[in-house]
């Protein structure tokens, strides 16, 4: 596969998309872990939902 005289523009486009998509995936995973950790800490400190069910268990 040859990309011709404008290879740098093509490569930069694909790298930019890969970088932003990777950032979105990392953001979603990191946020999930962060919220679960905060809920675990709150439950460990004695916070209970009105329903009485665990806030951490999302299954």
């Amino acid at each position: 596969m040859t990309l011709g005289p404008y290879a740098s523009f093509i490569i930069m486009s694909y790298v930019a998309v890969a970088t932003v998509v990777a950032a979105l995936i990392i953001w979603v995973i990191a946020d999930y872990r962060s919220q679960k950790a905060r809920l675990r800490d709150l439950e460990a400190a004695g916070a209970v939902r009105r329903s009485g069910r665990s806030a951490v268990d999302v299954k």
Binding site: G4, F9, V21, L24, Q35, R49, V58
Partner: protein, 263 residues
Amino acid sequence: MRETGLESALPALAPATISGAMTLIDLANPSRFLSLAGRILPWLAALTVLVLAVGLYQSATAPDDYQQGATVKIMFIHVPNAWLSMFVWGVMSVAALGTLVWRHPLADVAAKTAAPIGAAFTFLALLTGSLWGRPMWGTYWEWDARLTSVLILFLMYLGLMALWRAVEDPSRAARAAAVLTLVGAINIPIIKFSVDWWNTLHQPASVIRMGGSTLDRAFLIPLLVMAIGFTLLFLTLHIAAMRNEILRRRVRTLQMLQASKSA
């Protein structure tokens, strides 16, 4: 089926319609949504990876265009991002109606979490379009109707994200954001038809148009596969982000309960 009173209230509706309404009502329960999200996310993520892998392979092996050469490969990522920039605003507009009209408990969660993802896709559409424009048009940017209206869309996404951050109470922020989203939806047909209404440097529609696509199958198939892949990517990210937002609201509720106990 559980007896909820809905069946007797809507006797004229077909069973399938009632079943569809029941599914929506079931999904309105955040706990049920979390359970469903946990089950479907791994499968959706796997399907996204598979479709994007096929799309990337087809994009890499697609022939060069007789005018653009290999630069046509930018189109395979630019167009799906451009489509999604408008599609995500459409999703947010439906969610805004859900907030204002039906008061669906998950509508504002859906709208809030779609905004940063939509902003990312819009940014990529602008960036890849600019990187395609330099070798093909001789300029990175031109203040024509299509480019300017997409830039306005990007700024509107940022404005919505700022609004969500500025108002602490999610239900109050939801109503203001919903109104702003519906007002901003006016920009979507302007973006779509800008190339027909005004004399623009951006080329007119070549895929979704009256009379069928003008693209050769060698380019159309990779483009459609990539578009499906990016749409699946959006769905995966959106469901995951909605799950995070529900957990964030649980954190907020527990913190408030704890604060009221200790007061």
